[in-house]
């Protein structure tokens, strides 16, 4: 499994699996609650919830599911909600292409990844063919 170099000490808030489409709904609601508890406004709550929903659906569609890590920590003097989505799917062949608006290998509209990036404060992605994909996003309070 891919890992990002940790630049900070974080508190682990939760760890979840995305195996079914029900998990997508359940876990995005959990994350909204954390965002709310941290004091994020309604628009930021909606942004982070929508962002994770896109990432969960990608894991579910392309990698047959994956794992989600929810953390809270200080990042560059921001109070950050950090969500890491890890899967052991096929990986993404061309990251640059996948990150561009309108690219889809399936029936989507191709706005999931680039759109998610616009909704959050930090967006990191790593992918290795035949090993998997990890996306970490952060939203500042």
């Amino acid at each position: 499994m891919l890992e990002f170099p940790y630049n900070t000490d974080c508190d682990l808030l939760g760890k979840f699996k995305i195996d079914t489409e029900y998990d997508i709904v359940t876990v995005r609601q959990v994350i909204r609650q954390y965002a709310k508890d941290m004091g994020m406004g309604i628009v930021d709550q909606t942004r982070i919830t929508t962002a994770v929903s896109e990432l969960f659906r990608n894991m579910y569609n392309y990698a047959g599911g994956g794992e989600v890590l929810i953390e809270r920590g200080e990042v560059e003097s921001h109070n950050a909600l950090i969500v890491t989505c890890m899967d052991q799917g096929p990986g993404i062949e061309n990251l640059e292409l996948a990150m561009s608006d309108g690219f889809t290998s399936g029936q989507g509209m191709g706005y999931g990844l680039p759109g998610t990036k616009r909704l959050v404060d930090r967006f990191e992605i790593q992918s290795v063919l035949n090993e998997g994909t990890t996306v970490r996003i952060m939203k500042w309070k």
């Binding site: 489409e21 909606t46 919830t49 896109e54 659906r57 759109g115």
Partner: protein
Amino acid sequence: MNLHEKKIPIIKIHDYLIVPIQVDMHDKLAIQLQSQILEEIAKTRAKGVLIDISVLEMVDSFIGRMLSGMASMAAIMDTSVVIVGMQPAVAITLVELGLEMPGVDTALNMEKGMEMLERRLKSRKTDSF
């Protein structure tokens, strides 16, 4: 309530169908709702559909696609769809996500949505003379 068993009601009033979406929909439910509405349009010959999403706290690309797909299918069946009551935060997020919903009309509330449909029906009637 069990997430797996929720069902969304479709209410018929005069020439219109009213669909209040009261739950955070998972994918299967969204797809099911889409075909349910289209079946209901065919069955009732409704002239318009009002989909109330005022309690929806998020619309991601999947639900967005479902809504715009439904609007274009309804258009083929000569029925208009109006999405009613989208929360401002949801609208902002949809724009940032980059999701344009072609062919989807929106209205602030049920009343405005109904007026929109009536206006459209009237102009269609005069067109046909």
